[in-house]
């Protein structure tokens, strides 16, 4: 049994060619290793600009990896032919963050949901398609009567349901969710999260769930990977991560989560910066309050702190 998604030593660097002088280069993903297991939700957490969305794009084949492998159902997405990739698209679908820009404003819901079927030549019979679309819409909590409306007639939460329906039209095995609730109201967030959880159980989906909200991640995710500046710095089962966060960056993120009841456990660690540590081996050194002189030369490597829990900080284990 192959895992749905395996990412091995993935690097992605954006380059811009210049007429004169050196090319402009920006490494965005560095040495990413991830596996997404069947019927699991893997949360990807990190601050904006850390490469979460780029990782999604590379996984979906919208961007090509600079080096390394992305294996979807055992197939290397960079090596297979276009027609084979098109078949693979049916297995892997996406829901984006902004429900306002992810639906074509000049298409009705029926047209939007029909498009994936048209592209892959499925359910060509008219009655069969109509029944399928009604059922699909019902499965995300909308009614078939809304099929001939335009996106602007729906609220943000309803639009996100339409996006989910579109992603499910091809009956995928993998769903990439790029911050699907961060643009929604808190009360609507809960509805969409419940819907995603339901769908995941019913359809046995594997999900890569990108978020910057720990509460959301805790609700939905089985495992969580924390990203910082294009690298995964810590990976653990969700509960384990919350109970026993190891990496200073993870701890900083957790302590920065605003809470209504409990006072902060420790002050947010990333207030202070040490620009002189930019060139150190540890990517977090520039903002790490625990950094030691040894961090400058220590190689970037993972160590297991608990079963299935690995972390890249050299100062482990961290004790409370």
């Amino acid at each position: 049994m192959t895992v749905p998604v395996a990412i091995k030593q993935l690097y992605k660097t954006y380059t811009r060619r210049r007429w004169l002088g050196k090319n402009w280069e920006k490494p965005v993903l560095k040495d990413i290793n991830l596996t997404l297991e069947e019927n699991h939700v893997l949360g990807l957490v990190g601050e904006s600009g850390c490469g979460k969305s780029t990782l999604c794009k590379v996984l979906l084949g919208i961007e090509t990896p600079s080096s390394g492998q992305v294996l979807v159902c055992g197939k290397d997405t960079a090596r297979i032919s276009k027609s084979e990739f098109k078949k693979l698209r049916r297995v892997m679908q996406v829901v984006y963050q902004d429900p306002y820009s992810s639906l074509d404003p000049r298409m009705t819901v029926r047209q939007i949901l029909s498009e994936p079927l048209d592209i892959h030549g499925l359910k060509k019979d008219r009655a069969e398609r109509s029944a399928f679309l009604s059922e699909l819409l019902a499965s995300v909590g909308l009614s078939a009567a809304q099929l001939d409306r335009y996106p602007h007639e729906f609220s943000g939460g309803q639009r996100q349901r339409i996006c989910i329906a579109r992603a499910l039209a091809l009956d995928p095995k993998i769903l990439v969710a790029d911050e699907p609730v961060s643009a929604l109201d808190v009360s609507v967030q809960a509805q969409i999260l419940n819907l995603l959880k339901e769908i995941k159980t019913e359809r046995r989906l594997s999900m890569l769930f990108v978020t910057h909200d720990f509460a959301v991640a805790r609700f939905l995710c089985d495992d969580i990977a924390v990203m910082y500046q294009g690298r995964i710095v810590e990976r653990a089962p969700a509960e384990e991560l919350f109970e026993n966060p190891q990496h200073p960056y993870t701890r900083a993120l957790l302590s920065a989560v605003p809470s209504v009841r409990a006072p902060r456990r420790e002050p947010p660690a990333t207030r202070q910066e040490w620009p002189e540590r930019e060139q150190w081996n540890c990517p977090f050194a520039g903002r790490c309050p625990y950094a030691q002189p040894s961090c400058e030369k220590a190689p970037f490597a993972f160590q297991e702190v608990a079963p299935r829990h690995s972390c890249s900080c050299g100062l482990l284990p961290f004790k409370k």
């Binding site: 679908q93 996406v94 963050q97 992810s102 639906l103 074509d104 994936p116 996006c163 579109r166 091809l170």
Partner: protein, 293 residues
């Protein structure tokens, strides 16, 4: 779609200036369509040929026979204004249509392929932009020879770059939006994305500019005709009618308005035509601007 049409009509009715624009344009449209009824053709081979009453030089004031008077060499101004309306629509719509089409193609190709293709095509449009459009149109029209068809070619040649630039920009901004990426992850190929998602969302600003442009095209055409680079003497063309009035505009010593009617009718027609399209174009812009919705 019917919903959008209803919204457009409602907007036009509730806004007085856009209603005025609509009335003016519809009026001119009726005149153009009913030209054979309003001013019966005297030369069936060329209805745009002005009937000549006599060979007397001096223009004659409006009379029961010649409602708008006659211009130099007794060409009937009423006939000229009526058939000139038809010619104005012909020039305005044809030039704008082809300029729009060329601009759509060039802008689409530039935005779609990007890179060097984009660079070359956009610099080409910059070159056209660098020369004042009337001057460039004059040069092209003079090179091709004075003729209505050549004048339309010259006008198209200077009008397309603004559409190319606009379409390119709009395509680039629509291309960034998530529904385009979503279509790609569904497995849609380039042509499908371009035709079904990008163009329908990128084309509307250009439609607004086109509706505003129709008036300007007719104005520029009249300028070229006035300069002798468009319609030939004796043609029912507004610019040509004003060109024939050139010697009489200043009137006689002591009475500057002696021959006012030689420019009043064709000049008024041009003025109203451009104004009508401008108001209507403004209305289109208000309606299609997403911020207004």
């Amino acid at each position: 779609m019917s919903m959008i049409n209803e919204r457009i009509l409602k907007r036009i009715y509730t806004n007085k200036t856009s209603l005025l624009g609509l009335v003016i344009v519809v009026f001119f449209l009726l005149v153009a369509l009913l030209a054979p009824v309003l001013a019966p053709v005297e030369n069936p081979n060329n209805p745009y040929q002005l009937p000549q009453k006599s060979y007397q030089i001096a223009p004659q004031p409006p009379s029961a026979q010649n409602w708008f008077g006659t211009t130099e060499q007794q060409y009937d101004l009423y006939y000229g204004v009526v058939w000139g309306t038809r010619l104005a629509f012909k020039i305005g719509l044809t030039v704008t249509f082809f300029a729009f089409l060329i601009g759509l193609f060039v802008g689409g190709v530039a935005a779609y392929f990007g890179g060097k293709t984009d660079e070359v095509l956009m610099r080409l449009t910059d070159i056209v932009f660098a020369v004042p459009s009337l001057v460039l149109a004059m040069v092209i029209a003079a090179m091709l020879g004075p003729d209505i068809k050549n004048m339309m070619i010259a006008l198209t040649a200077v009008a397309w770059p603004s559409y190319a630039r606009l379409v390119r920009g709009d395509i680039l901004s629509v291309k960034q939006r998530d529904f385009v990426t979503a279509a790609r992850t569904l497995g849609a190929r380039g042509p499908r994305i371009l035709l079904r998602h990008i163009l329908p969302n990128a084309i509307y600003p250009s439609v607004v500019v086109a509706s505003l442009d129709i008036g300007y095209v007719v104005l520029t055409a009249a300028s070229l005709s006035f300069l002798g680079l468009g319609a030939q003497p004796g043609t029912a063309d507004w610019g040509q009618l004003i060109a024939m009035a050139r010697n009489w505009v200043l009137g006689t010593p002591g009475n500057p308005f002696a021959y006012w009617y030689t420019v009043a009718a064709p000049g008024g027609a041009i003025f109203m035509f451009v104004l009508g399209w401008n108001l209507l174009g403004d209305a289109f812009r208000d309606i299609l601007d997403p911020r207004q919705v």
